[in-house]
Symmetry: C2
Subunit: 124 residues, 2 copies
DNA sequence: AACACACTTGAACAATTACTCATATGTTTT
DNA sequence: AAAACATATGAGTAATTGTTCAAGTGTGTT
């Protein structure tokens, strides 16, 4: 993305909404927390990764099986697994030549479910 | 992102993992559902939008107040509000010159909370 | 040792994206 | 009607990202 910043002129309704803005500012979580939260959701924001996570929620799988399941190259899957691992969403275990991946914890499913609730509401 | 596709050669462990892959494939939701889910999380995957959503969870606000709160231009905020509106996450209401935005429903907070749980687990 | 297999990694490229800037729209005030 | 304000929108741009391709690492087999 690009750069942020710059001094912003406040609109004329300043006086009117001053209190609201101050109240909201007080209650906002730390900048860093919100950034981390965005980073986490960014990881969920790709259909390949969503599919991988969904698959792993069903069963531990090796890289080549995930690639086969999703009809993608091992390389592409491996790159995405790296992203998922860095986000702390999956873990791996080597068994000879094969590396098995599985979900790191059960939060993934819960995050999915909340998303699905929104989607199903939407399509009404 | 680039394009997907291509015929993928299955790895040699075919026979061994065939059953698992088939079982997982059966249980996977529709392609479109997973795509929509990724699209939804993509919207959450930007810290500006996360901040806007968080602010609106505290209080209905007009564009210029959000811009002031986040120290960004009205234009930038307006562009992001458009994205949020298209995703069905926020709604707007005009009052004279001013347009007030608010959350469309209460799912937003719940999706946040799940994300925060993951983050706090992570930092242990 | 040489080879094959499962996976990882780095560079390159196309597609996407978040912002800026300039301009347009809609509303109120004069 | 003209001017001012709040917001929206389109084009342009720099940064980011997901995939491909080629080459690398690690493990088992011959």
């Amino acid at each position: 993305m690009a750069k942020k910043i710059q001094p912003i002129e406040r609109c004329d309704s300043d006086v009117i909404h001053e209190e609201i803005v101050n109240k909201v500012r007080e209650k906002m979580p730390q900048e860093e927390t919100l950034y981390d939260l965005a980073e986490l959701f960014k990881v969920f924001g790709d259909s390949t990764r969503i599919k991988i996570l969904w698959a792993l929620d069903e069963s531990e799988m090796c890289v080549c099986d995930i690639a086969f399941l999703l009809n993608m190259t091992q390389s592409a899957i491996s790159h995405q697994l790296r992203v998922l691992k860095q986000a702390g969403l999956v873990k791996s275990r080597r068994e000879g030549k094969i590396v098995f991946y599985s979900l790191e914890d059960e939060h993934v499913k819960q995050i999915f479910d909340q998303g699905l609730i929104h989607i199903s509401e939407e399509s009404k």
